[in-house]
């Protein structure tokens, strides 16, 4: 392995660890208090209450398993695809709240600051996470598409 390939491998490893840590922490914060997260989902005014409750129970665990799935090479491709979709979904929800001038907290980490400025910050964070996830997904697809690709490395 030449130096540039080694550097790319290290960057990919660091990116995956950062992504996994962010999603596991975000999921754990919300999994601890599903009632508060259901209220946060309700405040977006996008879903009926029962759907919000179901999402509040499921989404945190999807973030945790998705985050852990990124670390394991055998589930990485699927986990990155799911997390990329989640980032897009979060971004659309936050953008819609911002456009509608809702004074709500993102709820991304189980609460947070309220208001347009906070929503703009959450939107930027979602975009940054989507970029990171997209880059890692592209790298993983490229790696898997190589003729000599095997089960992969951690």
């Amino acid at each position: 392995m030449d130096r540039s390939a080694q550097a790319a491998s290290v960057m990919g490893w660091v990116g995956r660890i950062v992504l996994a840590a962010v999603f596991v922490c975000a999921g754990a914060a919300k999994a601890l208090d599903p009632a508060a997260f259901a209220d946060a989902i309700d405040s977006y005014r996008l879903l009926p209450h029962p759907a919000g409750v179901a999402l509040a129970l499921y989404l945190p665990w999807l973030e945790i398993t998705g985050g852990l799935g990124v670390v394991w090479s055998r589930t990485r491709l699927g986990a990155l695809s799911l997390l990329f979709l989640l980032c897009l979904m979060f971004g659309i929800a936050v953008a819609s709240a911002w456009i509608r001038d809702l004074d709500i907290a993102c709820g991304c980490f189980g609460g947070g600051a309220v208001g347009a400025a906070a929503l703009r910050g959450s939107l930027l964070r979602s975009a940054a996470l989507a970029l990171l996830t997209g880059a890692l997904l592209w790298a993983e697809e490229t790696r898997c598409a190589r003729p000599d690709s095997s089960a992969g490395s951690m």
């Binding site: 999994a31 601890l32 208090d33 599903p34 009632a35 508060a36 259901a38 209220d39 946060a40 309700d42 405040s43 005014r45 009926p48 209450h49 029962p50 409750v53 179901a54 509040a56 129970l57 499921y58 665990w61 999807l62 945790i64 398993t65 998705g66 799935g69 055998r74 589930t75 990485r76 491709l77 699927g78 986990a79 695809s81 799911l82 001038d101 809702l102 004074d103 709500i104 907290a105 709820g107 609460g111 947070g112 600051a113 309220v114 208001g115 697809e141 898997c144 598409a145």
Partner: protein, 157 residues
Amino acid sequence: MQARTSTEKPTVLWRRGARQAALILLVALVPAVLAAWFHPRRSGWSQDQPVIPEVEWTAVRQWRAPVLLVDVRSTAAYESEHIPGALWLGESIGYDGMVAVARAWQPGTRVVVYCDSPRCDVAQAAARRLRRELGLQDVVVLKGGWSAWIEARRQRR
């Protein structure tokens, strides 16, 4: 043959990714279902979700007990105009808002939460949180919300 292999590869990759994603979706379902049954801080579904009583503004005006009005509309709406004396809580009812209500509340005070219109369910959610997290029992929702108050004011003039 070479061309066929190169066109098959994305399909194989897509299938592999879809299988892995389905596995993750299923694994996440297990703790979610357990949380739905056993989590001490799970939210109620619509069937057992407590519905906070709604009261008309004309009834609120006749109360003798002190009233704490809580506005859960947007900042812009609150700053534009609000019911005199109403405390702004914000739609997400963050920590600061809860502290503000806890400080403003006095024993014997009745709390009335309002949002924009009859279609707005944020007032119900806010009232439930005030009951659950601050232990306030005498919390109601203003029927019709801000639009009902505007209509009542128009009729008085």
